[in-house]
């Protein structure tokens, strides 16, 4: 708590989390970054939200853009700075270039500049000051020693007036020195780095990193930064905790034969992975899970990356399920989008908000492999673990689907970080036997519970969706995809086949 008293809220969602409370109060913090790393938006937001959310007036000292340009540029975020200027809550000190040439003859200082800032602070009783960017001073004046001395005096003055200041600085290249002119030397108490890098997928990735807050606690990892419709959002690295309750209560999956395999369904707040090739029945199985919950009045969230709402409604209707009705009355929340629409951290936050807002108790993610396709391994792992931890801690029972690349044969799921994160694994497979494709389902794993290990044949029918017929017997190599009947001595191939088919027909197996 004592830590918080020394900081002011930044007004930038997520920043107060990574900084454990905000921007150091009554001190100057250097925000250094390359061109396009978000320095101006970051500092404008700090000032704007300071006024609108904390009642702290602010002075914006602009070196590169004119006040008019800044007013215009941030209007898109819904920030009306003109109004704040009129209300004497926001003041500009305009240090943008005026294009009149100046000559240096003899000794000088930045007395006028300092007087202007002091005047503006006094005039509107400012508690916050932004200087964007201080590097410009070094290009305007030849004697950088003077600039350093004057900036030092400025920070001392601001500190005396208990004004919180963000000074931006230009960084020439990513990951080299902190700022171009060594500005950090005199405001080095607090340094924030804004990064803007090209990732291996060819996308720009912005991150923010707190290099130091002298004497104050803060996170040390980089956090993702996005400039969205309402300004900057920072997404702190998730800190999943293994705190989910271990329920002994089971809930029905909605597929009769599968509940039997799992000895009564899946545990409440468990995570189930359904893995199978394209068209193997994964989406139908998840619809069972959602509809079962809906019938019981349990709210759910269905995240769908492959089908549109109307496609889903149609497909559900073909099994006699009125999914649209449940979506319309709010029992089921549907989120259909392309995985490329948002980044991992944004999805995570959106899903968390939706689960909380809708009080969802069942969540389906179809399919998780769509997300894996666009993130690197580390990011994907963090995403899955964080999502899992969140869902468990909110007593949500979840089902993730994974699309395996091969139609037939054994596929690896261990490599994807998915198997260890999942409590239950259900495999859907195609098997070629007797000249046709069969579908099989298997409960590979169910953490903490007895489960049947049989490979069961199932069909997808319009009457009941996934319908489990019975186990395959007298057949081997099912998992390879190319099954083979095991013949008993003395029986020919045809007879053996008949035997099994008769057994299945009689309901013996």
């Amino acid at each position: 708590m004592a830590n918080k008293l020394n900081k002011v809220p930044s007004g930038i969602p997520g920043f107060d989390e990574i900084s454990h409370g905000g921007v150091p109060k009554g001190r100057t913090t250097l925000a250094s970054g390359t061109s396009g790393s978000g320095k101006t938006v970051f500092s404008s937001q700090f000032l704007y939200k300071g006024i609108t959310e904390c009642g702290e007036n602010g002075v914006f000292v602009t070196f590169e853009e004119s006040p008019q340009d800044i007013i215009r540029n941030v209007k898109g975020f819904g920030w009306n700075i003109e109004k704040l200027v009129k209300e004497n809550k926001w003041a500009f000190v305009d240090a943008s270039p005026d294009y009149s040439s100046s000559v240096e003859v003899g000794q000088y200082d930045l007395g006028a500049f300092l007087a202007r800032i002091a005047h503006a602070v006094k005039k509107i009783k400012a508690k916050r000051v932004v200087i964007d960017s201080v590097s410009a001073l070094f290009t305007h004046y030849q004697d950088s020693g003077i600039i350093r001395r004057e900036l030092h005096e400025l920070t001392v003055n601001l500190k005396k007036s208990n004004v919180t200041c963000i000074m931006t600085a230009e960084k020439p290249v990513e990951d080299e020195q902190i700022s171009r002119y060594g500005v950090e030397e005199f405001v080095s108490d607090n340094v924030i780095l804004l990064h803007n890098r090209l990732n291996s997928y060819g996308e720009r990735e912005r991150t923010v990193e707190i290099l130091k807050f002298r004497g104050l606690f803060h996170d040390s990892e980089e956090a993702s930064l996005y400039v969205g419709a309402q300004g900057i959002n920072i997404y702190p690295k998730p800190r999943p905790k293994l705190t989910g309750k271990g329920f002994s209560q089971k809930i029905s999956f909605g597929i009769k034969g599968l509940d039997d395999l799992l000895y009564g369904g899946v545990y409440k707040n468990s995570t189930t992975l359904i893995t199978g090739a394209s068209g193997s029945g994964k989406t139908v199985a998840t619809l069972h899970f959602i509809m079962e919950g809906a019938k019981r009045g349990e709210k759910s969230l269905l995240i769908e990356f492959e089908e549109s709402p109307n496609q889903l409604y149609r497909n559900a209707a073909s099994f006699g399920w009125d999914l649209k009705k449940y979506v319309d009355n709010g029992i089921v929340k549907l989120l259909c989008c392309y995985p490329e629409d948002l980044r991992a951290e944004q999805y995570l936050q959106m899903i968390q908000n939706l689960v909380i807002a809708n009080k969802a108790k069942r969540v389906v993610f179809d399919s998780i492999s769509d997300i894996q396709r666009i993130y690197n391994d580390r990011k994907f792992r963090t995403f899955v673990i964080s999502l899992n931890a969140f869902l468990k801690s909110h007593d949500v029972t979840s089902v993730f689907t994974n699309t395996s690349p091969q139609i037939l044969g054994v596929t690896e799921i261990t490599e994807t970080h998915l198997s260890t994160a999942s409590d239950n694994i259900i495999i859907l497979k195609y098997v070629e036997l007797d000249g046709r494709m069969h579908r099989i389902i298997n409960a590979l794993k169910e953490r903490g519970s007895m489960h049947k290990k049989e490979l069961m044949e199932f069909e997808i029918t319009t009457e009941s969706g996934v319908e489990i017929i019975g186990p395959f017997k007298g057949v081997e190599n099912l998992m390879s995809g190319f099954a083979r009947r095991i013949y008993q001595m003395g029986l020919d191939r045809k007879e053996a086949g008949k035997d099994i088919i008769a057994d299945i027909a009689a309901g013996k197996i």
Binding site: S102, V105, Y108, L110, A112, A120
Partner: protein
């Protein structure tokens, strides 16, 4: 004689540079320029809003407002030749 030049000198109170600049400028102007120059000395500590209006950053700063183009010299004006050429001013 009619005023030919309008000059403004911005200073910060009684700092060494400010005092020097005022002295140096008076010296420069005394030979033949005094009568045709209108000089206004502005203390930015007393009138910071004027510095804001004219976008003055460094002090001392000498600005030739008229005739156009506007010329600006910063520093204590210790070099007469440079000051005159910087302002594009001619004696006589």
């Amino acid at each position: 004689m009619a005023t030919k030049y309008v000059l403004k000198l911005y200073v910060t109170g009684q700092t060494t540079n400010s005092v020097k600049a005022i002295g140096n400028l008076k010296n420069i102007l005394k030979d033949g320029l005094k009568d045709i120059c209108k000089l206004e000395v502005i203390d930015v500590l007393k009138n910071p809003q004027l510095a804001e209006k004219d976008k003055i950053m460094a002090t001392p700063a000498l600005v030739k407002v008229l005739p156009p183009p506007i010329r600006k010299i910063i520093g204590d004006l210790s070099d007469k030749k440079k000051v005159l050429s910087g302002l594009n001013l001619t004696i006589g």
